[in-house]
């Protein structure tokens, strides 16, 4: 589904953020990307739907090359759902319109169809009563669930999560993770940047560990949590699992 091969990215000629990153996500797979902050994991996931450009290497999603200038990026992105750390709901639109905007403008769905789809998804994330409110009237956890529903409204073939729980108060983390776990169990292909190792343990198929712009470890979940091969991954794990 996602093929990332030998991606190099520089912010400036002397500052390289991604170094020779190669990995893949197959259909139905849940891949968790973790690593210390500044290791390039968010940058990597943003390269997948070309929100961030990169200078070398190739990324393709469902056979379409992301870095090909001829690629119709809006069309490709409409099939790749993305959830951001800071939710990024549109504050001037009601919840229902947040979910309908792209359905109507990008997928050309009728207003009725878009609303029906939106209501069904809001129900699924448990927020049907909030449809007429504005984003700022919701808690962080609710906003992030709306953001997930908004991405799902486009019927994506793959979902990207960029630290979806990092900006949340601790008591709201689980309500968002529950939605993500359900999604994983339904067979959604997911690439998730997160520090939530509990989530990784529960639903991930593979775990990728990044440090200083490199993919240091790319292993099955059992192998990763059992006996990481690299020192750096071991150190990282011992730090975040010790308490």
């Amino acid at each position: 589904m996602i093929e990332i091969s030998h991606v190099n990215k520089w912010y400036s000629p002397t500052f390289q953020v991604l170094t020779d990153c190669t990995t893949s996500v197959t259909k139905g797979e849940v891949v968790v990307v973790c690593g210390p902050s500044g290791s390039g994991k968010s940058t990597l996931i943003k390269c997948v739907n070309a929100l961030e450009p990169f200078q070398e290497g190739d990324i393709s999603v469902d056979g379409t090359k992301v870095n090909d200038p001829k690629t119709n990026l809006p069309k490709l992105r409409s099939r790749v759902g993305m959830v951001f750390q800071h939710f990024e709901l549109f504050p001037h639109l009601k919840i229902i319109d947040n979910l309908c905007l792209a359905q109507q403008k990008v997928l050309d769905r009728s207003r009725d169809k878009a609303v029906a789809k939106a209501e069904q998804l809001l129900e699924r994330v448990g927020l049907k009563e909030q449809a007429q409110k504005f984003p700022a009237q919701l808690s962080g956890g609710q906003q992030q669930r709306v953001a997930i529903a908004r991405a799902l409204a486009m019927d994506p073939i793959v979902m990207l999560f960029d630290e979806p729980t990092s900006a949340l108060d601790p008591e709201m983390v689980s309500e968002v993770l529950d939605v993500m776990v359900d999604l994983a169990h339904e067979g959604m292909t997911m690439m998730v940047v997160t520090h939530e190792m509990g989530f990784a343990r529960k639903v991930a198929n593979r775990v990728i560990f990044m440090d200083r712009g490199e993919i240091v470890e790319d292993a099955d979940k059992e192998d990763f949590f059992g006996k990481p091969r690299s020192d750096r991954a071991q150190k990282f794990l011992s730090k975040i699992l010790s308490h």
Binding site: R77, V80, M82, L101, F134, A136
Partner: protein, 230 residues
């Protein structure tokens, strides 16, 4: 001290002052504000676009307009445009443009420079995550601007835009250098004709002051109502 003033001259001149003068002033303000907003937004988008050449052109334009006194631009434009028109169309005589069209174009050009800076600040005040989220949903650049960025930028900037429009309302009195009967021009004509300078200019000041004050108050009320809930 007011014993030798004749305020009845105002009453007699009212129909002329408002039907002709104020109508002209308000029409010019509305059209120039609208035109300035449209072109100003375009210039702001040019400046913020990734294309260096476009941004450079827009930047030079804004700096150029902001470095000239408005009254000079009005003056020059009125006398130059006929000749520029002649040069472009290759006509044998200077093209007559008319005082209203000439002053309208001048004000649109001038206000576009100011509005563009306001819009630029408004667009830049939207966090970068917003266009990123819109793009991630598959919206094109134009759709992202139209449905996500500009509506928020407009709402953030509306009080400043309207305040600038109030300034524009006052600035339109400068067309008086072209002998156009805008509100001030009309008042001035009556003043000269009847020799009642103090009364007419006093009255003009009161009218400009009242309208601007009420409008400012309205802007503050509006600001409270349309602000995005945060």
């Amino acid at each position: 001290m007011f014993s030798n003033l004749d305020f009845d001259v105002i009453r007699r001149a009212l129909p002329y002052l408002f039907y002709e003068g104020m109508t002209f002033t308000l029409t010019l303000t509305a059209l120039a504000g609208l035109g300035g907003l449209i072109f100003g937004t375009a210039i702001a988008l040019m400046r913020l676009s990734g294309y260096k050449v476009l941004g450079r052109i827009a930047g030079v334009y804004v700096d150029f307009m902001r470095s000239l006194p408005l009254v000079l631009v009005i003056f020059w434009f009125y006398f130059l445009v006929p000749y520029i028109g002649q040069w472009i169309t290759g006509a044998s005589r200077p093209i007559s443009v008319g005082a209203f069209a000439s002053s309208l174009i001048t004000f649109i050009m001038f206000e576009a420079a100011y509005f563009s800076e306001i819009m630029r600040a408004g667009i830049q005040s939207i966090s970068r995550g917003q266009p990123a989220a819109a793009n991630a949903l598959g919206l094109t650049y134009a759709q992202t601007m139209r449905y996500v960025v500009l509506p928020q930028a407009f709402r953030n900037m509306l009080p400043v835009l309207l305040t600038q429009t109030i300034v524009l309302f006052q600035d339109t009195s400068l067309v008086y250098v072209l002998s156009i009967p805008d509100f001030l021009g009309a008042a001035s004509k009556v003043a000269q004709r009847d020799g009642r300078l103090v009364e007419m200019y006093l009255f003009a000041a009161v009218v400009y002051f009242t309208i601007s004050c009420v409008a400012s108050f309205g802007v503050r009320r509006l600001q409270a109502r349309i602000a995005i809930i945060r």
